[in-house]
């Protein structure tokens, strides 16, 4: 089993996702970056599960997929709400609260 390649792929995806969350200003893009991180987690879980011949990894990945779907649904609703109220989803413009 070539475990390292999968872990490396997941690590690269994780880094891309973290970079996207930190650098992107568009709300949708940040959501997509979070999705990339979650998918790197899924690759990790499935790879470890297959490597160890242990089903818990795949089951965990299914849980992650299901919960992530619910989470992104909420996130899109919040972004849509903000778009309706201020006609922009640029995160740097959300600066009413500070101090």
């Amino acid at each position: 089993m070539i475990l390292n390649q999968f872990l490396l792929l997941a690590a690269v995806l994780f880094c891309i996702g973290v970079y996207g969350v930190l650098a992107r200003r568009n709300g949708i893009m940040v959501l997509m970056s979070v999705e990339i991180i979650l998918n790197s987690v899924n690759i990790n879980l499935v790879a470890f599960g297959a490597f160890r011949d242990h089903v818990a990894g795949e089951v965990f990945a299914l849980f992650v997929i299901a919960v992530a779907a619910a989470e992104v649904g909420i996130g899109l609703a919040i972004v849509l709400l903000i778009y309706r109220n201020r006609r922009s989803i640029d995160l740097t413009e959300a600066d009413l609260l500070k101090g």
């Binding site: 089993m1 872990l7 997941a10 994780f14 996702g17 973290v18 969350v21 709300g27 940040v30 959501l31 979070v34 991180i37 979650l38 790197s40 987690v41 990790n44 879980l45 790879a47 470890f48 297959a50 490597f51 160890r52 011949d53 242990h54 089903v55 818990a56 990894g57 089951v59 965990f60 849980f63 992650v64 919960v67 619910a70 989470e71 909420i74 996130g75 919040i78 972004v79 709400l81 903000i82 109220n85 201020r86 995160l91 959300a94 600066d95 009413l96 609260l97 500070k98 101090g99």
Partner: protein, 509 residues
């Protein structure tokens, strides 16, 4: 490797479920479903009963918690992934009672603000359900599901004032930081699963404690998991969402987030540290030490320059998270120290819930008159509303840790746990706790002096002559939290034994 598919084809065997052990969760779930039914069948007429129904549901869920406590036996179900011991029972009671107080605080606020009411209480019950599950979770998947069950409704509650830009922004910031934290946490969990080959915390401990464990993977996994929960408990430097979200969210929701969701993050951290990472004190202790010290200093120093009470309480919450993280930095020294550390954190969580909810109750009551949370609006409060001023002073002094109020006993336990192993690191952290208590006293006392010494502002656009009318439910919340704050301070030997708990990793089953 692909040939292993055949091993997956096994007959499904239902685990032996201990129904009594999961009765609190089922009760809460039942009331959540009942609220939905009321919404569907009665529509607008349901608005009158939903808050009563929600508070009744929370109190009814206390009954199985009490019968389980009366029974006294440690239980374990779902192959050991779900454990009911006295630690989890105490935390469940704290969550349910805190949820009840939040319903009391919300009743008038939500009803008068023309917000969606029924859904609000459904979300609240769902979030409390997530916390109650979290207290028993001894397995990575269960912890993750409980965390999301509590977070997803909380994102919605923070955004509850749909047309208010500030509430939108509060919800957005909370959501983005929350999902990012969850994703980082999950990445850490996937590494731990890989290192251990199991999602059960006991198996993870057994696998990562040995010398053969891949140190880099384990270390990264522990760091990512702790960082993920660092966001949840708003530890410095992962606190950036907290002040903005607290300020913009509806104030009862802020009270809920600052107490209950922080406590749930701590519960998960405690289970992880005392079961999952137990053999890896060399990894988690330095991490906790740095997080605790940074949170105490960061939170307190930034709280000094706040002009808004809610933001001030947010930063003070960061510092309080630091106090609670501190005992975890010495927990791995020996079993006796671990025992002290666990009880001190649980004690602190219970007392913190009471005093912080109380402080927010006063903020909500005062904001009904002033429509603001600026510290200046508290000037001269004692002249026209002495009851609220006295209550606020009690809660602030408790948060500062002045005897004989509850916060004093909590800090005392923390420092005791820190210095008991007599290591240099522990003693230094104990000194940092003491120094920070003094810094914190300054900003708490500033609000108190505004209320007691200064005259009401001349140019105020609100009435400063008549006492503020507090709704009955908010008064009830003030009485409950005030009584708990005083009881912990004056009778620590009497109340303290409730929070002197032990944590059961798992039972065969």
């Amino acid at each position: 490797m692909l040939g292993s598919v055949s091993t997956l084809v096994v007959a499904f065997e239902r685990p032996a479920i201990d129904w009594h052990a999961i009765a609190p969760e089922l009760t809460l779930l039942g009331f959540g479903a009942l609220l939905t039914l009321v919404d569907i069948l009665w529509l607008e007429r349901g608005r009158a009963v939903v808050s009563a129904l929600a508070s009744f549901g929370l109190l009814a869920s206390m009954v199985p918690v009490l019968t389980l406590a009366w029974d006294g036996a440690d239980r374990s179900t779902f192959w050991g992934a779900y454990v009911v011991d006295d630690y989890s029972l105490v935390m469940k009671a704290v969550f349910l009672l805190a949820g009840y107080v939040v319903v009391l605080l919300s009743t008038n606020y939500i009803a008068e603000g023309d917000y969606w009411e029924n859904e609000y209480y459904q979300m609240l019950l769902s979030a409390v359900l997530g916390m109650v599950v979290m207290a028993s979770a001894r397995d990575l998947v269960t912890i993750f599901v409980a965390l999301e069950l509590l977070s997803i409704p909380a994102y919605l509650m923070a955004t509850w004032r749909k047309r208010d830009l500030r509430s939108n922004e509060a919800g957005l910031k909370y959501y983005l930081m929350g999902v990012f934290a969850s994703a980082v946490l999950l990445y850490g969990m996937s590494l731990l699963y890989g290192a251990a080959g199991s999602t059960m915390l006991v198996d993870i401990d057994a696998a990562i404690s040995g010398d053969g464990a891949p140190l880099a993977v384990v270390t990264l996994g522990v760091i990512f998991v702790v960082v993920g929960f660092g966001f949840k408990v708003s530890a410095f430097p992962f606190h950036t969402w907290a002040p903005d979200t607290y300020e913009g969210a509806p104030t009862p929701v802020t009270a809920f987030l600052s107490v209950a969701s922080k406590a749930a993050g701590f519960v998960a951290l405690l289970s992880l540290v005392f079961v999952g990472f137990w053999g890896r004190a060399d990894v988690y202790q330095p991490l906790m030490w740095v997080l605790a010290a940074a949170s105490m200093f960061g939170g307190n120093l930034m709280a000094l320059r706040q002009t808004n009470v809610v933001r001030l309480l947010a930063y003070s919450g960061v510092a309080q998270a630091g106090y609670m993280l501190a005992p975890l930095a010495v927990a791995g020294e020996s079993l006796a120290v671990a025992d002290d550390a666990l009880s001190s954190v649980v004690t602190y969580l219970a007392i913190y819930a009471a005093m912080n909810l109380g402080a927010f109750a006063v903020v909500i009551a005062v904001a009904r008159r002033t429509a603001s949370a600026g510290i200046d609006t508290y000037k001269g409060l004692f002249r026209y509303s002495p009851g609220l001023a006295v209550a606020m002073t009690i809660f602030l002094m408790a948060l500062a840790g002045i005897p004989p109020l509850g916060g004093w006993f909590a800090k005392f336990e923390i420092v005791l746990a820190l210095i008991s192993p007599a290591t240099a690191w522990g003693v230094v952290l104990g000194v940092i706790v003491a120094v920070n208590s003094v810094i914190a006293l300054y900003y708490y006392a500033r609000i108190a002096s505004h209320m007691w010494v200064e005259a009401p502002p001349e140019s105020a656009d609100f009435d400063t002559t008549t006492p503020i009318k507090t709704p009955t439910s908010v008064t009830a919340a003030l009485v409950l939290t005030g009584a708990a704050t005083l009881a912990f301070g004056i009778l620590p030997q009497w109340v303290g034994h409730f929070t002197d708990v032990t944590l059961v990793a798992t039972l065969a089953g």
